[in-house]
Amino acid sequence: MSPPVPFQKWTLRAGIAVALTVALAVVSLPRVAHADLGDEPSSKSSGGGGQVEDADKPKDGSLLEKKPADAAVEQKAAPPQVAFYEKWQFWAIAGAVVVGAIALIWGGQALAHQLNGGDVRPCNMDFKDRCFGEGR
């Protein structure tokens, strides 16, 4: 009877075996997932010169070239553009318009006030409140 393997060595071997098994499973799983399940054996498809030529394929190469209609369809199929209100340019312009409008209103009022005579001059202290008339 051979002497029993020490527990530590047995454990080490078992660990290596388990690790190898797990590694194999991990490596092979994606391939299994990507496999063409249900396909016929590849030997058939690559099986020599028995391939039939597509009779519908036009001989004229120009017919296969992209037409303007195709370009329009491609454009339509392009990913949707960002909404205008999500662009910083929109907010920059909107902010400028708001600031401009406020400045225009304020400036207009100030200008109109000046054109209407502006502020009446203050009453001289020596006049002892004997000032009256427009703006007073």
């Binding site: 209407n116 002892k128 004997r130 000032c131």
Partner: protein, 147 residues
């Protein structure tokens, strides 16, 4: 740009419609007449408690001073000081008139004792300075400055 131009034109038109005014100031320096037959010096002038200045003509306004304000009652001399009238009028005539009362509460017509007038042609001058003398016109409620 095509939209901006009409807006600017509209703004300019509205500003133009608002008019273009400029203040003009008429400083009327008022003195009581203490010549012979007029107010009997400070004794009588000091009894005047209320003055009402009115403006008619190219513009209209009224100002009352006193009692105990606007320099009334006068304590010394006969020179009251300047009344300043502000107006946009720059043409026509401005008629200034002062009524003096020796009533101690209000411009009681029965207590009117003096009057002064001045007619000034309004102009584009910013500040026009004029003199006005208040002459005695009636005995008022406090004749001869004695209570």
């Amino acid at each position: 740009m095509r939209r901006l131009l009409p807006m600017l034109a509209l703004a300019a038109a509205s500003v133009g419609a608002a008019g273009c005014n400029e203040f003009h100031y008429y400083d009327i320096d008022v003195t009581f007449n203490t010549a012979a037959g007029q107010f009997a010096g400070i004794n009588e002038v000091s009894t005047i408690q209320v003055l009402v200045m009115s403006v008619t003509g190219a513009d209209n306004a009224v100002l009352q001073i006193g009692p105990n304000s606007g320099g009334l009652p006068l304590q010394t001399g006969a020179h009251l000081g300047i009344f300043e009238f502000a107006t946009f009028a720059d043409s026509g005539q401005l008629n200034f008139k002062i009524d003096a009362y020796d009533d101690d509460t209000s411009a009681n017509p029965g207590c009117k004792t003096g009057e002064g007038t001045k007619t000034i042609n309004a102009s584009s001058t910013v500040t026009v300075m004029e003199m006005m003398t208040i002459n005695k016109t009636a005995p008022g409620c406090v004749p001869d400055g004695t209570l």
